[in-house]
């Protein structure tokens, strides 16, 4: 029995929807193949609508009512934070799909996560900006949890990478026009690049507005837009040259044949796109990896008891996922490093790898 509480609806449904679909598909697939150690997986999946209060209730329900052995989920940092005490108190392994670094730092015995931290994304972007020989950055972040958390991390690590943040603007997740913010950033002395953390329609509108204003300085989006649908929404012409720190998933076909991730991402991409007819996104990938970690651990675990499972998850080693190659330990509950991020750029309406 596996539990999941995901924000399928609500403000984070853009993230939660592919996550939920991925979990369902993977459970189906593994059960069709006979389950784990002969046992079929029963998935209890609840939609918390992005509301931490609901998330906590569902977590309680998963533990108390459904008797699950592990929980995947917490699409947002807020919902993850709400589930954490429940997992902790009941000693149930919990693999979060949210970005914030606070989830695994400090490490809590039963809490894991699959996505890169926002900090890594910022560092990856700054690394690339630095490579281009630039240093003055304008930020335009969404005020949703994703954007706000990444903005915080970026502001924090900027000095270490020699970056100066010359503008720090925000937009609401439901806003429909960001030209005023972009105009302000454009007006800032010496601004050389723009970084815009966010997900959903916001980044697409930012990209379109950026073109409307005929701006030319490099535009960096976050991994929140890592999906082909971003290119469709922003327009192929408008998104030309946009860079993001992404995962191998988006460039499955471009990967070298000997790339360790090639097989995993190609398979997942085929599965997801075949079943849902919608393009894969990083977020579905997070769920894929969480599930993979769970399955891998369950196979190795002595029993399906919580503590054994937890130990097995901590013992995850060189597990290839869509996000990167995961090696966990008692001190590292994420198991990814910066190298698993790849800098991608949109060229001719498609993702390409920046060498």
């Amino acid at each position: 029995k596996l539990g999941a509480t995901i924000s399928e609806t609500g403000p984070a449904s853009f993230l939660g929807d592919p996550e939920a679909k991925t979990l369902k598909l993977l459970v189906e697939k593994i059960n069709a193949a006979g389950g784990i150690k002969g046992e079929k997986i029963k998935l209890f999946l609840y939609d918390d609508g992005g509301d931490p209060n609901k998330a906590r209730t569902f977590a309680t329900r998963l533990v108390e009512e459904d008797g699950v052995v592990a929980i995947i989920g917490g699409t947002t940092t807020g919902t993850t934070m709400a589930v954490m005490p429940v997992a902790g108190e009941n000693k149930i392994p919990f693999i979060s799909l949210a970005g914030a670094i606070e989830i695994i730092d400090p490490v809590q015995p039963f809490v894991f996560k699959t996505p890169h931290t926002d900090k890594m994304a910022c560092e990856k972007i700054f690394e690339d900006i630095k490579k281009r020989g630039l240093s003055k950055v304008g930020m335009l972040s969404g005020t949703d949890g994703f954007g706000a958390s990444m903005r915080k991390q970026c502001l924090a690590v900027a000095p270490a990478w020699g970056m100066t943040i010359v503008a720090d603007e925000t937009y609401g997740p439901k806003d429909t026009d960001m030209t005023p913010q972009l105009t302000t950033i454009r007006g800032k002395e010496g601004v050389q690049a723009i970084v815009t953390p966010g997900f959903g329609q916001g980044p697409a509108i930012v990209t379109r507005n950026y073109n409307q204003l005929s701006m030319t300085i490099p535009l960096y989006q976050s991994h929140g837009v890592a999906s082909n649908s971003f290119i469709q929404l922003a327009g192929a012409k408008e998104s030309e040259g946009v860079r993001i720190p992404g995962t191998a998933l988006l460039v499955a076909d471009l990967l070298a044949a000997d790339d360790p991730q090639k097989k995993v991402v190609t398979e997942y991409k085929a599965l997801f796109e075949g079943a849902t007819k919608t393009p894969v996104s990083t977020f579905g990938g997070y769920a894929h990896d969480a599930f993979a970690i769970f399955v891998d651990a369950a196979k190795r675990s002595k029993s399906f008891k919580a503590v054994d499972l937890r130990d097995a998850i901590e013992g995850t080693s060189k597990l290839v996922g869509t996000t990167g190659t995961v090696t966990m330990s008692a001190k590292d509950h994420i198991g990814l490093d910066l190298s698993s991020f790849r800098m991608l750029e949109i060229r001719n309406g498609g993702w390409t790898l920046v060498k």
Binding site: L45, D47, D51, N53, T57, A82, P85, E102, S149
Partner: protein, 318 residues
């Protein structure tokens, strides 16, 4: 002996509260029941404001936010005990209601609705934007109330679920008692009178502005305490608590149950809290079903569920 409607409501409520736990198979049910009680507490406040006094607020979650964040912040910044923070939050909400209420309660109907909506949005915006203090959209952790361990040191050990069940049940009972007292008192009558006609209320000596403000403050305190309880129960809080959806939820619970009565409000809170839990098996049809139920109830039982069902039953009997 005839028992008054007030006693009937209180008795029914306490009997349910006492008996229900014996049928709870797991801690999950304690959690759900506590949520029902916490929501009901806020809804009782809405009943006073909307049901009695006829003033619509679409921003009451703002007060829940103040109450909730008081519990998160006051222990950190003021060194208050979490329990004292609840009171502190209630006071802060009361003062806030007093400040905001005076200008906006002069507005009527939808104009009041939009003004209160604005207030709610302002609160949630501050909570979202002041990341340094509030932790932003991801929220922040809340200190432990500590009462449970205090009790267990004294030989009364309760599980987390049982503990919160008891606390929320007691507080709801107290809240309902106060609201019921109010209903048939001079103040309550004044509120219902100004609902009927503000002009006439004035000529019988009711200070309409201050009566409205009183109702607004009282209901703000209800919302605030409810918000505090949510924060303490979850041991964390996010700005969602002050969001527009939460405001709408409160009003919907009140109206769906039967907004003019405490019993109706509690019933509405119970239904709308339980419904999503019951509907999880519908998966993607959950939203559709919820919307449908809201419409159907309001169409066919227009005074709300409780009065509607009651009159249906009576109609059968007659």
């Amino acid at each position: 002996m005839r028992i008054s409607p007030k006693m009937a409501t209180l008795l029914t409520l306490s009997v349910i509260m006492l008996i229900a736990p014996f049928f709870f198979p797991s801690a999950y049910y304690f959690r759900i029941a506590s949520l029902v009680y916490v929501n009901a507490l806020a809804v009782v406040g809405v009943v006073i404001l909307t049901g009695y006094a006829g003033q619509i607020s679409l921003g009451h979650a703002g007060f829940a936010g103040i109450g909730g964040y008081a519990c998160a912040l006051a222990p950190v910044y003021l060194g208050l005990h979490p329990a004292a923070s609840v009171v502190f939050g209630a006071l802060a909400s009361g003062v806030m209601a007093w400040i905001v209420g005076r200008p906006i309660l002069r507005l009527k109907g939808y104009y009041l609705a939009v003004a209160s909506l604005g207030f709610g949005i302002l609160v949630s915006m501050v909570l979202t934007n002041e990341i340094a203090v509030t932790g932003g959209p991801d929220g922040m952790k809340v200190a432990d109330l500590g009462l449970r361990s205090w009790l267990s040191e004294r030989g009364l050990s309760l599980t987390n679920g049982q503990f919160w069940y008891t606390i929320t049940a007691l507080l709801l009972l107290a809240g309902a008692w106060l609201a019921l007292n109010l209903e048939n008192s001079a103040t309550g009558r004044a509120l219902r009178a100004l609902h009927g006609s503000e002009t006439a209320a004035g000529t019988v000596g009711i200070d309409v502005a201050s009566a409205k403000l009183t109702a607004f403050i009282i209901s703000a305190v209800y919302a605030s305490v409810s918000g505090s309880l949510i924060a303490l129960m979850n041991r964390m809080i996010t700005p969602d608590i002050a969001g527009y959806m939460h405001s709408i939820e409160m009003v919907t619970m009140a109206v769906l149950g039967g907004s003019a009565s405490v019993a109706g409000g509690v019933f509405g809170a119970a239904i709308l809290t339980l419904l999503p839990q019951a509907l999880t098996s519908f998966d993607q049809y959950e939203q559709v079903t919820l919307g449908l139920i809201m419409m159907l109830v309001m169409i066919f039982l227009r005074q709300g569920l409780l009065p509607g069902l009651a009159s249906l039953l009576k109609g059968r009997g007659a």
